[in-house]
């Protein structure tokens, strides 16, 4: 799985960018590899209209997209093209792309190794189409409901760092299994 440690150079709407899963994380327990389970995750992304960060050219270029049509029979899916035609032309020539989304704080990531083509979708507009990925990572580590925490009344956790310093960390979400700060 392709990973990057640094932000890509594109600066278009960086707040919407979903970063790729960092190196060093064992994603094996979170990897789906049957067509049925992959189709289900793609359908969920499509139904929620989740923004997808599509990386290509060794993750040096990315654009934002939304899944359009999930075709289980032919094992294909389509998705919005970029607003930048130069990116679209480059994307048509790529042989490797990584898709990343983060609905509800849960990382979903998969990669496409071939078969990307431009099509006309049902609305008559241009889309890209690709074959289903061979695997899909659904990085849901916790078995418990996560609740996002109110920003107006921040929840703080006091920790002792290994260097001895006390840390007051502001929490972003919390569950019975863990927390994010």
């Amino acid at each position: 799985m392709l990973v990057v440690e640094e932000e890509p150079p594109n600066k278009l709407d960086p707040a919407a960018l979903v970063t790729l899963i960092p190196a060093g994380i064992d994603v094996t327990p979170f990897t789906l590899s049957t067509p049925d389970t992959i189709a289900r995750e793609l359908h969920l992304l499509q139904q929620r209209r989740d923004l997808i960060s599509v990386y290509f050219n060794r993750a040096q270029i990315w654009f934002l997209s939304v899944l359009q049509i999930i075709d289980e029979k032919h094992q294909t899916f389509s998705f919005d093209i970029s607003v930048d035609e130069a990116q679209n032309s480059a994307f048509e020539r790529t042989s490797h792309a990584v898709f990343a989304a983060q609905p509800g704080g849960i990382k979903i990531q998969f990669e496409i190794l071939s078969g990307i083509k431009r099509i006309v979708d049902l609305d008559g507009g241009p889309s890209f189409q690709a074959q289903f990925p061979l695997s899909l990572i659904n990085l849901q580590r916790r078995n418990f409901l996560r609740v996002p925490l109110p920003i107006a009344k921040p929840l703080l956790c006091t920790l002792r760092h290994r260097n001895g310093a006390a840390i007051n960390a502001q929490l972003y979400d919390l569950s019975i299994g863990g927390m994010v700060w």
Binding site: E7, L17, P22, L145, R160, H161, G178, M179, W181
Partner: protein, 82 residues
Amino acid sequence: MITNGVDVAIGDKFTACRIALSSFGIAEVNLIVMSKRQATKTDLSMQTVVGTNFVNLSRKSEALLHRYIGQLERERHRLERE
């Protein structure tokens, strides 16, 4: 001082961490760092976001967290209905 940009690594463990759950009290927990990533804040500055799991969560802390999370969920549902 609120410090979220602290230097931590995946696998780091923190013991006896204290979460102040407003009127519910203090939950004392042990943590292990499971993930770490850079996120962009609304002012476009970068911030390190750290995902952690609780380790050997005590029954008392679990009960406090249950109550606090339950209260947040009830508030959220109430706001959605209004």
